[in-house]
Symmetry: C2
């Protein structure tokens, strides 16, 4: 168990409070991060329908999934066996049958067929078909949208959660240093990506902990490919005089600490060095206003004030809340660091401030994972932000 | 470009034929594997809404996604710039606005608002909210289900596709040998997982190619955790006298070659060795009947005839079609190797035959990635299947 049962029950209490306010008797959660947050469940089983059911009338959540994953629920959650239910294996990828017919039957068996039930309409793995199966077989349920209900509760972290993110910071620093030490002209991107993965997961003797797979794979792209935001390493060779963007996360007990840096092989041109200088000035200014009472908007305004001073445009957001993550993402999907996001910062709100400057034919990235403290903020990693020259 | 434009257009032709038969004027594809299959698009951007639109009236597909990923579409696809469309960054995770409002507008602009449009109701990343946005804003569209339409066309592979899977085979053999060489009592699972990742992605001097991230992460679980099917490596130490299941894939140009084996530290008990012997006998018998003209059912019947002879039960399927994959999966979701799946095998159908024996408190796995040939089949990997003893 990664957390005490008390910590899980405290989370559950907050979720039930929010359900009561929203007049939901039951919620069905599909987002693997929300499943993990409330029960500890941890397995790469989200490629088939599964979820957590929270009912106001029940003391503890219910895990549902395929039969062969129910043993994983017994190993990784605090739930009693009676709260772990499963559908038969012959429902897996076997249309016209579908696992959500099982969920529907469960709703009827529990006399919830005329209740208010929240579903995560826009969560990963809650497909249109899942919803169609429920709505067509439970015509008297009042379905409403529970998207982000749990995610917003995740925004503020406990001391234990911050501790795991700080372990992730050690891992991602090791991964980034491995990138710095291995990128050179003539070397394959895939060679470096393999070494990075080893550092992120095996760790090293100095930090003496290992990590886990991340919600996003290693993003590593050079030259014109660095003008895009999500391209991944191939057998392409690093060349002279090109920039490479790198985005990684160290992960401990599913808690993520992401970090981005940019490497340049050879002598960078002035547009690259100038843009990096300006971006860094913006990030520094944004960090200075990151403190309780200020809003996400305030942080964004500080950053863009620098960009505007130099006439540089950036239309993508500057960051997002982080914590637990499963593929395809490590963001929490709640607060974004962008203008008009009026979320008020509080101590132990954690976010990834990422200044991705994706230009027409080139790009650069720097980022910090940040924890809001009582009086300001702390950077989880400690690694220079300037362009790393090879 | 991974394939010639001709190969992509041949795929498109087959998709359009299937659309015509199903009376769909337009289809919207959300499954990243289907996006890749028809256009070459390759980026870890599926954590935000994106897709491919195929219209009978248009010569080439349309890619849509967020603005900062549109450059990735230009780098990785054969599409003309006018077929790459994007929505503004401020729609990202910014309710009540939503990227599918943009897709809806595009439907109206193209005068498709009273057409027959297929959507992948049960595909990854096609959320209930995506569908709600489309149906509520396009009331005169006749929406129908295009789930698996493209996937079924992917079932039979070209020579180029098989070639990439064979490169994946070299990588996964290297990864599995790394597991064999590093698992020993007292070593952390995460240490071995890092080394495995390095082998799968960096490759080695002998094979001289690198790989890519897989649709599923490294599955590695020991002792009681091996009774579950999808648990992942942690900082737990390998112990004496326990079995460890390992499931990996080598990936080249998104084509997967998965492989499972079981390692035992110490002297295995008779239930483990007996079950492994029986499982192997079943797999051998199943391989013998894997040939064109036979069905998936025939292969399953051959396998279970051995299990039944020895009184062993297994309720999960024996395998599934493989090829292109993105998280969360590397399966194609079409043919399953199970009784009553009457899919007829043909040359260049590729599948993962996985005999996962997840028992009450322990488990073992062996698998082969298989290509159906003119007269029988070929195993893509060449690695002994017996229990690997440490």
């Amino acid at each position: 168990m990664i957390f005490s049962k008390t910590e899980y029950l405290l989370r559950l209490l907050k979720v039930k409070e929010s359900m009561s306010q929203k007049k939901m008797d039951v919620i069905i959660l599909s987002d693997p991060s929300n499943m993990n947050y409330l029960t500890g469940y941890d397995g790469w089983s989200f490629y088939v329908p599964q979820g957590i059911i929270v009912a106001l009338e029940l003391d503890e959540p219910i895990w549902f999934g395929r039969r062969q994953d129910s043993k994983g629920a017994k190993v990784t959650t605090y739930l009693q066996d009676k709260n772990i239910i499963f559908y038969p294996e012959d429902l897996i990828q076997s249309p016209p049958t579908h696992p959500y017919d099982f969920v529907s039957s469960f709703i009827h068996e529990n006399n919830w067929a005329n209740k208010n039930i929240g579903v995560e309409m826009d969560a990963y793995y809650y497909t249109a078909e899942n919803h169609f199966r429920l709505t067509s077989t439970c015509p008297n349920v009042n379905f409403s949208d529970a998207t982000l209900l749990v995610n917003w509760i995740r925004l503020t972290k406990s001391a234990n959660e911050i501790n795991y993110m700080k372990q992730g910071a050690k891992l991602v620093e090791a991964g980034m240093k491995t990138a710095f030490n291995n990128i050179k002209p003539g070397v394959k991107q895939s060679f470096v990506a393999g070494k990075i993965q080893n550092s992120l997961i095996a760790g090293n003797d100095e930090i003496n902990i290992g990590g886990e797979y991340a919600g996003l794979t290693t993003i590593l792209a050079s030259g014109i490919s660095a003008s895009a935001s999500h391209l991944t390493p191939k057998d392409k060779l690093f060349e002279n005089n090109e920039g490479t963007i790198i985005e990684l996360a160290g992960v401990k007990n599913r808690y993520h600490c992401p970090l981005s840096r940019t490497v340049y092989t050879g002598k960078p041109d002035s547009k690259t060095t100038d843009t990096m200088k300006i971006t860094n000035e913006g990030v520094e200014k944004a960090i200075l206003v990151t403190k309780p009472g200020n809003t996400a908007n305030d942080v964004a305004v500080a950053f863009w004030s620098v960009l505007e001073k130099y006439g540089i445009e950036k239309d993508s957001r500057l960051g997002y809340a982080i914590g637990i993550g499963y593929p395809p993402d490590w963001g929490e999907h709640t607060m974004s660091i962008r203008k008009n996001d009026m979320t008020v910062l509080q101590p132990n709100v954690t976010f990834h401030m990422i200044a991705g400057m994706w230009m027409d034919t080139w790009g650069l990235e720097i980022s910090e994972s940040i924890n809001v403290t009582e009086n300001g903020c702390e950077l989880l990693c400690n690694l220079p932000r300037e362009l790393h020259l090879v």
